[in-house]
Symmetry: C2
Subunit: 128 residues, 2 copies
DNA sequence: GTAAGCTATATGTAAAGTACATATAGGGAG
DNA sequence: CTCCCTATATGTACTTTACATATAGCTTAC
């Protein structure tokens, strides 16, 4: 990673918070997508990949990624196993389950609907 | 209002929470928009109008509306005044300020960008 | 006249979610 | 040996949200 993942300041400052910054819960579908497309299979790799991702322009917090991955495992959308590394610490490798892929598809349907509604709303506002 | 605004259950249940349910912070731009278009000028009216609104399909919590309106007033995006009612309790009437309109425009720009990103992402997922 | 029900605003509080900090540890470069 | 990068994990304060509840004016039905 090029940079030490600068912390995205928000909360009291940024009024567009949830949608504009980290897109909060969208971390979940992004992780599932990266897994589904073999772009990432462990935490640190997700951290790099997710930060280059379109929907999320701010740096994603490492803590959020590791905790989200654990949550996905608890609900059975991913499974994990340890893989020793030749150079560096061991990695926890994640794999997508069929249930996880189905969950990603549901996310896609929701995001499409909501995304369209947001664009539509934006156009309504632009006409003011 | 036809119905007593059934509470939108989510949290532990609904995994699509933020985006799928109340769209959380989107309450703010929706309120500003309703004000800008003279569709609502006080809390209870926002409650009715916002629930018929496209982006938010779940019932919006009254507490969130009143607190959001107060927040908008603190930041100078709206101003309020009391208006007595011939039939029923007094209403706190809100008006949009120029700063509030500008804020709504900024919201629109953000929502358009994010909405497009979400639709794009949804299509990526659909191809899996 | 009083109880029920609608309009209307407001706040208390527990739970959930996020940001930021920090702890731990393996391995390579100098 | 020290510094830095990779890699995972957790503590915690803060913010946001959901849901409940309190208050009160007015209207309609009994």
């Amino acid at each position: 990673m090029r940079k030490r993942a600068r912390r995205g300041q928000r909360s009291t400052q940024d009024p567009f918070a949830v949608i504009a910054s980290n897109l909060s819960r969208l971390v979940e579908p992004v992780l599932l997508y990266l897994l589904a497309t073999d772009q990432a299979h462990y935490g640190y790799q997700f951290l790099e990949a997710a930060n280059d991702f379109a929907i999320t322009d701010a740096a994603i917090d490492a803590g959020v990624i590791y905790r989200t991955l654990r949550g996905l495992e608890e609900t059975g959308y991913v499974v994990s196993s340890w893989a020793p590394s030749a150079s560096g610490p061991a990695k926890r490798i994640y794999e997508l389950t069929p249930a996880g892929l189905a969950h990603l598809k549901r996310w896609a349907a929701v995001l499409e609907q909501r995304g369209r509604a947001m664009v539509y709303f934006a156009h309504l506002c632009a006409d003011l």
